[in-house]
Subunit: 352 residues, 2 copies
């Protein structure tokens, strides 16, 4: 192609010399694999560790305990209002590492691409990943790309695994949670799940709902500064805040009593939930966290969260009780109380 | 079900209370997800880190540099003579970590399951993973399970990411390779690729070919003991030894001259390659490595490899030259020499 010499590794739609869509040969380990890696993937994540192109990264980690997490992303559709499978995959693993009280540092990428995936779509996803990694302050240090035949996967799946260093003296776990603790939620709920759901073919109704996908490592650092005895952190993704809080109650053998009025839901999200008959408490978030801390640290934690862009709408949504161990309840505006159960089955498949 | 009380976490075919195949709800984060994880997956990998069931493992790593690697496995069929996608996924990442001169310690698992996958097939795969991890001496410390709708993936894909500690003073890289070095191959080639290919529907011809999938970390340790100035290690998976050696030649800016007679191919594998018109040099291996070391350490390295069960058929297959930089050549039994090129495209899709 005539633009071969001009190519700088960016600038779709012609990053691959002879193809505008992914071919099986791009995953076979030969010349076309090298071309895909060296012309399309590497230029977006280049750093001295990744550029070695060995089958493993060799890292000199700072002293301390290491947090290690993995997540595979299969969201459908792969692009949705507010994000795509790429930034979702970066932020999701950054957040899982951060929820261990850690500073995320290094990520791996594992792609499964379906034969026929448009190269320009892949490039858009990679650009989002690159931007999200830069924003979260993490480096992509190793990766793997497989291509499967048409019909053997749905366009693209992405695994990210991540490493971070746990802050000294911090040991977060659901089992730390005690009666009297307070429950902080960092913002509005159900944004991500409803953005994906309403953007699916046949379900769009001119919605303004956008995914909340974002990295929460900065917010986590601020919360740890403000609450030295922070008990536990978790990002309520699949299954929503109802599932995360049930997991907390079960792991710690405590009750959790929530105040309905304190749980914020955007008007457009609430509207979409009502139309579809879905309870926002069970819908996935991708840029929110739940933190539990002692009562006397709750005020400082809340102030710290609100001062961070990712926690501007933070609120204390409930308290931990000794009674009703293993159960989550919700006090409504009228003062009645109902059980918030663990969901049994599938509300929203392939939301992340 | 009447067997509920007797269930011990093993013993298919009834590990899930109400289902003999995977449902979308098993990936939704609710009760059925918990059931799948706690009754089927956890009992096979149980350890104090994984059992915490947090979204990340917190590890106290030994001092030293960390090797970090990732690989997604999409092999078709998922069960083949000599192994299945499960032990392949464990051994593959153990080997990628080990090839960095490291002792593999911890692995993550990321499953993508297709709705309808038989639970007993999944259990068989998990049992193989558990056995392979025990044999390699690695712990599974964190994981993720997604379920996609029928037709959105091909039964099961598995990502494994791994961590290990690099031996002190060791710094392996293809760029270390120098003219005069020797090239060691740890055994016969093309076993894995031909086992998968001949087991595919329509291609089986009562073959005795079996995959060579196995963990090579013990062999790597023995080679490092025997060759203090070991230059580089790599396991020649996708693209076979031809691809790995071309990558070495290119990265180091050297030539590599191979002796055809020294490269061992099992008779049944050679027969299958001839029937299908495939060059075994380009076929994937999953239990072999290529090591490059200084000439004066080659004899000790060879003896060490042969003393290890995974290297019994090891041989010195060639030498590194200053001329023909970036190229690999093969000297035949008749003394003629031909170029062994990088493969352009797809020989064998979904071999790992």
């Amino acid at each position: 192609m005539s633009d071969r010499a001009d190519f700088d590794g960016r600038g779709c739609p012609s990053p691959l010399l002879h193809h505008t869509s992914i071919q099986l040969a791009h995953g076979a380990g030969g010349r076309l694999s090298s071309e895909l890696i060296e012309r399309v993937i590497l230029p977006r994540f280049s750093n001295r560790i990744l550029d070695r192109l060995e089958d493993q990264a060799v890292l000199q980690l700072p002293a301390g305990r290491v947090a290690f997490s993995t997540d595979t992303f299969v969201v459908d559709p792969i692009e949705f209002p507010g994000g795509n499978i790429g930034d979702l995959a970066i932020n999701g693993t950054v957040n899982d590492v951060a929820m261990g009280g850690a500073t995320p540092l290094y990520l791996s990428l594992g792609f499964v691409l379906e034969e026929g995936l448009e190269v320009d779509v892949f490039c858009r996803i990679l650009d989002s990943m690159s931007a999200a990694a830069a924003k979260a302050g993490v480096m992509i240090v190793t990766g793997d790309t497989k291509v499967v035949d048409r019909g053997a996967c749905d366009r693209i799946f992405i695994n990210t695994s991540g490493l971070g260093i746990v802050r000294e003296g911090v040991s977060l776990s659901a089992t730390n949670i005690q009666a009297g603790d307070r429950v902080l939620l960092s913002g509005t709920i159900a944004d991500h799940g409803m953005a994906v759901l309403t953007s699916r073919e046949g379900l769009s109704f001119r919605s303004s709902v956008r995914s909340d996908t974002c990295a929460l490592n900065g917010l986590v650092a601020d919360l740890m500064d403000a609450s030295p005895n922070l008990r536990a952190l978790r990002d309520p993704t699949r299954g929503g805040i109802a599932t995360t809080l049930n997991e907390f109650a079960k792991a710690a053998g405590v009750g959790i009593r929530l105040q309905d009025h304190a749980i914020a839901v955007r008007d457009d999200v609430r509207g979409a939930c009502e139309v579809l008959g879905i309870d926002p408490m069970y819908v996935a978030n991708e840029g929110k966290l739940i933190a539990v801390m002692p009562e006397d640290e709750a005020e400082a934690a809340l102030a710290a969260a609100r001062a961070n862009a990712a926690g501007g709408a933070a609120a204390i949504i409930g308290e931990v009780t000794a009674e009703h161990a293993g159960m989550v309840s919700l006090v409504t505006a009228l003062g009645s109380e109902r059980i918030v159960d663990m969901p049994v089955g599938e509300q929203l498949p392939r939301i992340c």
